[in-house]
């Protein structure tokens, strides 16, 4: 009953139609490396992004359906996610045009509650990002990522050379000490001295081992303890009147 009552927020979320036709989508999929490419070279990543822009036809506009995703500002880029075996799990791109990010494998809106960006807590995420695509980069920028108002990570850099792009690899297996499965709504914000703010919102699904992860086992233990206590320690009791 509780499950049914609470699932209202995640159910019935449309993902929208693909923003490109099937032929273009096949070409886009072919560009995404099937195996973990390791740390991306910046020039190579930038050229790859240019190919995606051509295939998408400069537009990734999708109809907003509410609890979706967004990335506003001059920033954009792409991200590939690989599982612990190095196999491709998910891929998404944002062209930096103010439209929502797009799933590179399905052609629909990415980072939505119905189509979250999937990552493996024991895997890696390869990314390429820019702000803006051409011209000076953000000067003295600061950024943060948070969920439910709680800060997950933050940072910043004076960026005296005004670099406007970066490529790299996030090793989740090393960065996440506790492995878990969960769907998380994440907000990101980047501020700088010379650019409008870059604001992103979206959903990320951590695809761990479910209930067999330490977090899942702890949840089962708490649940079992609570049921046991309610059944055997807090039931009403009938006693004889003295």
């Amino acid at each position: 009953m509780i499950t049914l009552g609470l699932s209202f927020s995640v159910g019935a979320v449309a993902q929208g139609d693909p923003v490109v036709d099937q032929a273009a989508l096949d070409e886009i999929r072919a560009l995404v490396p099937e195996g973990d490419p390791g740390k991306y070279d910046l020039t190579e990543a930038s050229a790859e992004f240019g190919q995606y822009v051509i295939l998408f036809g400069q537009s990734t506009a999708v109809a907003d359906f509410g609890d979706g995703s967004q990335l506003t500002g001059l920033c954009g880029g792409f991200a590939y996610s690989y599982d612990k075996n190095g196999d491709l799990l998910d891929a998404a791109i944002d062209l930096g045009d103010g439209d929502a990010p797009v799933d590179l494998l399905e052609g629909t809106q990415a980072f939505t509650s119905g189509n979250p960006f999937k990552v493996d807590p024991r895997g890696v995420v390869v990314y390429y990002g820019f702000s803006p695509e051409s011209g000076d980069g953000p000067e003295d920028h600061r950024w943060y990522i948070k969920t439910s108002g709680i800060s997950l990570d933050k940072g910043g850099d004076p960026n005296p050379q005004l670099k406007n792009r970066n490529a790299g690899l996030v090793d989740l297996n090393k960065d996440l000490p506790v492995k878990f499965t969960a769907k998380v709504k994440i907000e990101g914000h980047m501020m700088s001295e010379n650019q409008p703010d870059c604001v992103g919102k979206g959903h990320v699904s951590f695809e761990g081992d479910g209930l067999t992860d330490p977090v899942g086992l702890a949840g089962l233990a708490l649940l079992g303890g609570g049921i046991f206590g309610l059944l055997f320690n807090s039931r009403p009791a009938i006693t004889w009147k003295s």
Binding site: L6, V184, G216, G219, L223, G226, R235, P236, I238, W240
Partner: protein, 138 residues
């Protein structure tokens, strides 16, 4: 519930056990991706579980007493046995070589217990000394 029975409830226990129930349920729902990892939804699950625990402790099926009801007047007729035990008079306490009355060395006898040997009349001393009291005969 018949007359003579009292239903006792444990609402505080219900609330307290509802907390681990709610936390565990929230984690299981998050891990199975039924709900997202979001503070508001986790709090909703926790509060729901606490309410369920409270309601269960108030209106759940009551445990029946295991034994039969006590009979009326039974307590008045019942007299507890005297725990003090009189020491047999004809059997003297066993003594060991060290003078203790217990073989394990513990002196359980009270200190004010009468010393039988001391209170026994000294027959020899109290007996009239016939020789001394006899009148001297010239």
């Amino acid at each position: 519930m018949t007359s003579g029975e009292i239903k006792t409830t444990h609402p505080i226990r219900g609330i307290l056990w509802g907390i681990p129930l709610g936390l565990g349920l929230a984690i299981v729902l998050v891990v199975t991706q039924v709900i997202p990892l979001e503070l508001t939804q986790i709090i909703v699950v926790l509060v729901l579980a606490i309410v369920i625990g409270l309601l269960w402790s108030l209106y759940g099926p009551a445990k029946r007493p295991k034994g039969p009801p006590p009979k009326a007047g039974l307590a008045d007729d019942f007299t507890a046995p005297d725990e003090t035990m009189a020491e047999p008079e004809d059997e003297p306490a066993a003594t060991d070589d060290w003078g203790s009355s217990d073989s394990d060395g513990d002196d359980d006898a009270p200190d004010d217990a009468p010393d039988v040997e001391d209170e026994a009349p000294d027959v020899e001393d109290d007996a009239p000394d016939v020789e001394d009291d006899a009148p001297d005969t010239p």
